[in-house]
Each structure stands twice: as structure tokens, then as C-alpha cells.
Symmetry: C2
Subunit: 465 residues, 2 copies
């Protein structure tokens, strides 16, 4: 069905996305149509993330898609970073517009225009806003989910009274929202770190990132949380009256995560048979399948489905016995549903079912009556196994390097760790010429460094999507 990963990883990815019915390419270059099964994964991501974002105190809101071109130019680094990727609306309602508007590539500018109206005094701070929205960045080398001209995301925007609060909030989102979600729901091993100055968000004073290793050893950036300092505040005059009666600029953060995570799910957990969806994320955790017809098998399958639903499992019943069993089994395998429960006429006689676990790849007969008690534990075990497998891969394919040459060699097939003091900004420029980059800096003890030049900092070097 799928091109094997070892033969051609990019083609395997494209095959899987198409055959598991996750997405199609859109008609305008770089856009995508997210099909129901792919969108179901994104909806579950949204649900889990949204709870964590609200627990961090942020409220959802919605800012316009269209931004006056003049806003973008107010923050110098920001416009330099985004100008090459903008989509521009020049005509509206049958007329040429007096000022062209850009389709938002991100919303820092328009958000600040309103923050500067809403924030008056220290009592209005912190102001913690999130939005779920689409954004557009014109892509020259698009790849479905990973790099698309239009993508869906959440973008958080906050304003604080001082540097420390903003710094701590950016770190809190990085840790309690992004890292927690990725590890505990997506079962993804991710490395939390700090971007180098070269890789920072356009307009930020610090960018925190989470980097994941894909099945081919390349890196993918999976969520970033930025300290914006006072850059946008100064550009948009976002000020507040302090307790001491002084006008002060606010300190800000912004942070985003995108539909790219669906692509990461494929490339991190997929195998040659298709996707493997972590049980805590899965829209369908278990599918109960009637192997073949007769009125009794489908009835039993529905009864098992109801018992599992009662046990809190997200279940789908597949009683479409007019479609060959083999075709359906392959399809569920491709879609990566964690557990399949297959029931045929023989099982019905014996009171059994076949339990097929997608993640460990096992298949065993079980008593049908035992399923409801068994399944929650099975799903949790497989969730843990998936995370352990992704961690194992990253550990196995990460090399310790002491020279730039060693790092470059290791990063051809995996990741390299090299002391930042040995690499430095010049070494980093050299890597770029070979299609590699510093994914992030981590401190000697594995924590996130507070400065680029903190002694003992280690650079993670890799090729990246």
C-alpha cells in the first residue's frame, strides 16, 4: 500500500496522508483540504490544548483576518521577517482598495493596536489572550501539514507589567501547555530549548521551542513561545499607568502551535502500515469490527461497542459487512486506530474476540466479556509505549560531538549535540550552508537556558523540516 519509509521517506509521508484520508492538496499552491479524519485529529488537539490554555489563565478572542499593510511596517524586524511571505488583497467589493490589506501571517501587530486601547492601568494587566484562527504565509516549497500557505493554529498574545512576569509566562506556556500536551497526549518525545539569535521569531527577544525527531532523523519545530520584550509595545504605544503613577510600556509574549502537529504525528509515530495514533488523542480509540455477515455478528459487535462506550472508551462500530473484511482492516490499520476488536462467527460461538493492538503490533484472542475491563489499561500501556519508542529513537540517533565536523557528520542521519562554545554564531552560519541548523540550545543539566551564552550550553544540530 505505502512506499516503505526506508525507500523514500517523503513519498511514504505523502502516501500515508493521502491513503489515510488526512488531507488533499488544495487548488491554490500550498493550500490544503483537511479531510474529516485528519480534521478529527486536529479537533482533539484543539480540545486538549484549549483546556491547558484556559488553565494558564488566557481567554479566547478573535482578531480580523485582514491587517492594514501599514501595521506590519511598524516593527522593523517583524516586517523584514514576514514581508516575503505575505498575501495581499488589492481589490474588495469590485474596487481597488485605497490601502492594500495583508492576510494575517500572524497577529502581533493588530493585537497590539487593540491592546494599546484596552490597557490603561496596571489593573488591566496581565492581559492574556488566545485565538484559534487561520493564517497565510506564502510558501515556495509547500508540504502538506508541515509547511502550507494557509494553516490553522492558535496564537497567544499577552501583556504584562514587567520583564520577569512576561518571561515567566512564556516559560509557563512552553512547559505547562506545549510540552505537557505533546508528551502526555501526543506521546511525543520533545526537547525543550531556547532558539539562538539567528533562529528567533521576527521581533522577539527570546524564543522557546520544542523540537521533535521524526522517523527519518530530521527535526521538526513543534511549538514556540516568544518573549517579545517591549518591541511591539514601543511600536504601538502599548502603555499602562503603573501603581507608582508612571506611564510604562508593557512587556509581552506570543506563542503558537499549528496543524503542523498533525504532520508531526504521522512522521513521528507512523510505520510502513500507516499511522499510529496515541490513545489519549485518538478520536476513535477502538473500532469493533464484524468480520462477516449474518445478523448475529453485527449485533454482538454493537453490543461490545456499547459496553466499551460505557467504560469511557471512544468507540466506532464497523458493521459494514458488505465491504470485504480485509479492506476494512487495512483501512483501520492505515488510520492508526489504537485498538481493533474483530468478531467473526467462530468468536461468537466461543464468546471471544480478537484484540489487535496497533502500537505494539500484537494480536490475541480475548474473552468478549473481559474487554470493557481490559481496554482502559491496554490503551494507557500503549500510550506509554509510543512515548517510550519515540524517546528511544531520539536517544539512539543523537550523537555527542566535540567538533563541528563530528556534528555535521552526525546530523546527516540524526541529531548532534555540541557545546555551543565550540560552535558559536559563526559555526552556525556554516551549518546553514550544508542545510543544517541549530534547533535549540539546552543547558548542561537539560533545562532551558536563560541566556545564549550561559556556560555549558549545548547546541542541538540537525536537518529540519
Amino acid at each position: 500500500m505505502l512506499t516503505p519509509r526506508a525507500d523514500d521517506f517523503p513519498r511514504w509521508y505523502q502516501d500515508l496522508v493521502a491513503k489515510a484520508e488526512l488531507a488533499d492538496n488544495g487548488p491554490v499552491r500550498g493550500t490544503m483540504v483537511i479531510r474529516p479524519y485528519g480534521y478529527g485529529l486536529w479537533e482533539r488537539m484543539q480540545q486538549e490544548m484549549d483546556v491547558r490554555i484556559k488553565d494558564a489563565g488566557a481567554q479566547n478572542a478573535y482578531f480580523p483576518l485582514f491587517i492594514p499593510q501599514s501595521y506590519l511596517t511598524k516593527e522593523a524586524e517583524h516586517v523584514e521577517g514576514f514581508a516575503p511571505e505575505l498575501a495581499v488583497v488589492t481589490h474588495g467589493g469590485g474596487k481597488e482598495l485605497e490601502e492594500p490589506v495583508v492576510v494575517r501571517p500572524t497577529s502581533e501587530t493588530i493585537v497590539n493596536e487593540y491592546f494599546s486601547k484596552w490597557v490603561q492601568s496596571y489593573r488591566d494587566l496581565p492581559l492574556l489572550i488566545n485565538q484559534w484562527a487561520n493564517v497565510v504565509r506564502w510558501e515556495l516549497r509547500p508540504r502538506v501539514f508541515l509547511r502550507t500557505t494557509e494553516f490553522l493554529w492558535q496564537e497567544g498574545h499577552t501583556a504584562h507589567a514587567n520583564y520577569e512576569e512576561a518571561r515567566d509566562y512564556a516559560a509557563r506556556i512552553h512547559r505547562n501547555v506545549y510540552a505537557d500536551f505533546m508528551e502526555n497526549v501526543l506521546a511525543m518525545d520533545v526537547v525543550p530549548g531556547r532558539k539562538t539569535a539567528r533562529e528567533r521569531f521576527a521581533g522577539a527577544i527570546n524564543t522557546l521551542t520544542l523540537e521533535g525527531m521524526m522517523g527519518d532523523g530530521k527535526a521538526l519545530q513543534l511549538g514556540t513561545s516568544h518573549e517579545l520584550g517591549q518591541n511591539f509595545a514601543k511600536a504601538f504605544h502599548t502603555r499602562y499607568l503603573s501603581r507608582e503613577g508612571r506611564q510604562e510600556y508593557v512587556w509581552q509574549t506570543s506563542w503558537g502551535s499549528t496543524t503542523r502537529m498533525v504532520g508531526a504525528l504521522v512522521m513521528m509515530h507512523g510505520d510502513d502500515d500507516g499511522l499510529r495514533v496515541p490513545p489519549r488523542l485518538a478520536p476513535v480509540q477502538a473500532v469493533v469490527i464484524a468480520v462477516k455477515g449474518g445478523p448475529e455478528v453485527p449485533a454482538e459487535v454493537r453490543a461490545i461497542g456499547e459496553r466499551l462506550t460505557g467504560a469511557g472508551v471512544r468507540v466506532e462500530v464497523d458493521d459494514r459487512t458488505d465491504v470485504p473484511f480485509g479492506r476494512r482492516a487495512v483501512d483501520w490499520e492505515l488510520k492508526g486506530v489504537p485498538v481493533r476488536i474483530e468478531v467473526g462467527p467462530r468468536d461468537l460461538e466461543n464468546g471471544t474476540a480478537v484484540l489487535v493492538r496497533r502500537i505494539p503490533g500484537t494480536k490475541e484472542p480475548v474473552a468478549a466479556r473481559a474487554l470493557a475491563a481490559l481496554l482502559p489499561g491496554v490503551l494507557e500501556d500503549d500510550q506509554a509505549l509510543l512515548l517510550a519508542q519515540s524517546r528511544r529513537r531520539r536517544e539512539d540517533r543523537t550523537a555527542e560531538a566535540t567538533t563541528i565536523e563530528e556534528a555535521t557528520e552526525a546530523a546527516a542521519t540524526g541529531w548532534a549535540r555540541i557545546p555551543w562554545a565550540k560552535l558559536g554564531p559563526e559555526g552556525e552560519t556554516g551549518l546553514a550552508e550544508q542545510g543544517m541548523s541549530v534547533r535549540c540550545l539546552v543547558a548542561a543539566d537539560g533545562t532551558v537556558p536563560e541566556r545564549d551564552d550561559q556556560p555549558g550550553n549545548v547546541a542541538i544540530v540537525a536537518r529540519a523540516y
Copy 2:
């Protein structure tokens, strides 16, 4: 605080939207910034609608924002209807595009392009898709929430094997999703009916609507469900192999409801003191307010909040005793939170609290311990009262007319019902010249007519937003 409705209804609406912090105008004409409290109302609408849409068998997906201009022109009526409202992207990634793309005003065209790929045989039908998205229609006379250049909505798109199934599905959405949600969650009296040919969606063979009467007697269209016949199927070659082995065009529906419902909530339920949010919708059903300071009142307020949360009430605790009580009370009044529970030092001594009900406008002392048992019933009573009030207004302000003159006179201040046989398409054209329209046709028995010319049909005539 607010301009009284009787003085200037449009200004009252603008005041309320601004002061209750529902939304601000965006920088590009006709766009809006939906603030957290307004967005919280929309989020609750989404939750309630989404459950109903999924119960009707539809799955969520996502189609691109950008549509090639050529797609729009494939269905003749459709392009005629939407061409004047399009926003056009002519530049992307720093270059002029070879073919300009339009920002979706609605997605029938791009959806059909993909349906024609996905649908092969009768086994693939019905195909039931919904998306939550933003759309853009350039507005010359924008009004926040009601008529905005960009708005948020859900749009459903389905394909069926025959006319009857498509017709029944459009009716099912109209009844089980839209009417049910509006009456039972939004507490809105709505009239279900059929649009005349003049008022139909561009490209539809039939449009079902729900019309609500606002506080000033004008009508607002609140959700429409269309039978598209085979118009788009023929334009996009969306065909399937039937059981009998023939290539047949599919029959389709589309249906949408928008952030306009937030504006409707204001104009239907608001009064001179602010918004009144129906309890079943309310993101905050009850706010427990500490009247003034001392450590004990806020502690009691939090304890009551916890007990109410335990009773399944969506609660917010307002213990900001550094802000004057009067200011906070007025703010919660403006925001229309259904129930306020006010606790001061005297209440603490007596074990009481003051229960203020926003919808009936009552205020009475109650035993603090009784609140958790009392509140769920209070909220349901007030939900019912709100619906009854909106029904009463519509009934009181709807006149039976037997001549066009009578209808025109009545529609200056409310709605008129006139036999469609008396009005007809020519009479309808005449109404338009006076700023009035036929909102919908209803059958003699109050049901939705199956044809425009069904004997006994009554036209509802009104001015509309």
C-alpha cells in the same frame, strides 16, 4: 450608561456591544475584533451547535480560504450573487499571481471540486460535511456582528443520491439543528419558513430560513438551509455510479449560521440596562460577588462559588473588593449574566445572600445554604421566561393584513402576515422599494411550505437587518 432603546435603537445596540465588551470595530472597514466576553458567547454557540450537527451525522473538515477565481464563475447564479462582494488577492510572496484568488465568501465551489473526487459510487453517499471557518463578503454598510466584511460561521455541505434525501436533510438541519438550538438554547422565538424565489441563496432551488423579531420590530435572518438541487453538481461534474450502474449527478444541500447570532442575542434579549444572556447559553450563569472587603466576605463568596460549581452551575467569583461594588454590579448587569449573588458583611452574619435575577429583574434575600439547591431551577425558569417574552413580542407586534397597504403600514413598526396569493412576486418587488421584504412564506397551518405557490401560504412582511 446606554442610550435608551426607545430613543435610538441602533445607537443603543452600538453602545451595548462596546460597553459590555463584546466587540470593537476592526481597522479594515467592516471587520470586527471579537473580545473575550463576546467570543465566549460564540464558543458556547459553537459547542451547542457542533453537538447537534454531529448528531445529524455530519463530520467536520476544513477547506482552503483561497479559491481560484475561475471556480466562482462555474455556477452562473452563484457568481452573479457573490461577485460584487469579493475580496481578491492579486499578490503573494512578493509577486503578482498568475490567476488572482478570491477569499472565500462561501465554499460551495471549492467543496464541489473535492466532492467530485471523493464521490465515486452510491456507497460514498450521503457525504455530510461541516466546517467552522471565517468568510469574507465586502460590506458597504457594515454593522458589528450583523453585517461584517469578515464573519465566523459554520457551513455545511452535503451530497445525496436523490432529490428526496437532499430535501429531507436540508429540512432536518433546519429543524433539528437550527430551530432546536435557537429556541432551546438561545431562548429565541423564531419563525421557520421558506424563502421566496427572490430571496433565495444564489445557486439554490430552495432556501429554508429562521426569522427572528428584534427589539425594534425588525426581522433578522438567523440561519438558512438550502437545497442546491443539481446546480453545483452539474457545474463541477459531481457524479456517482448508482446501484443500477448509471452515472448520476448528486443532489446537494448547504446550510450556514454565523456570528450574527451574537448580534441577534443583543437585539432580541437586551434591555436598557444591557444584555440578558439565556442561562443555557451563558458562559457565566451566576456570578458570586463580594460587596465589600474584610477577609471573611471574599472567603464566603468563594465557598458559595464552589458549592454552586458542584451543583453544575457555571460560576464566576468576583472578589475584587478593591473595585467599587456599584461599578462591578453595573458591569455584570451590562454583560447580562443571568444570576448575581451578592454577599456583604450583614449577609455573612445572617447566613444570607441577595439573589438578583437579571431576566425577571427581581432581587430577594435567600439563605446562603439554599442556593445550590435553588439555582438550577431558577436558571431553567428564567430560560423559559426569556423565550416566552420574545414569543410574546413577536405575537403582539405581528398584524394580520388582507391588503398590501395594510401590510406595508404594519411592517413600518412590526411584522405583517398577508396571504401570498394577495401579494405575489409583483407585490414583493413593490415592497423592496419601501425598504421591506418578504422574510419567508409559512403554510396555513404554520408549517414550512413545500412550494411557493402552495394554497394558503402566508407571507411574513417586515423591514430587516
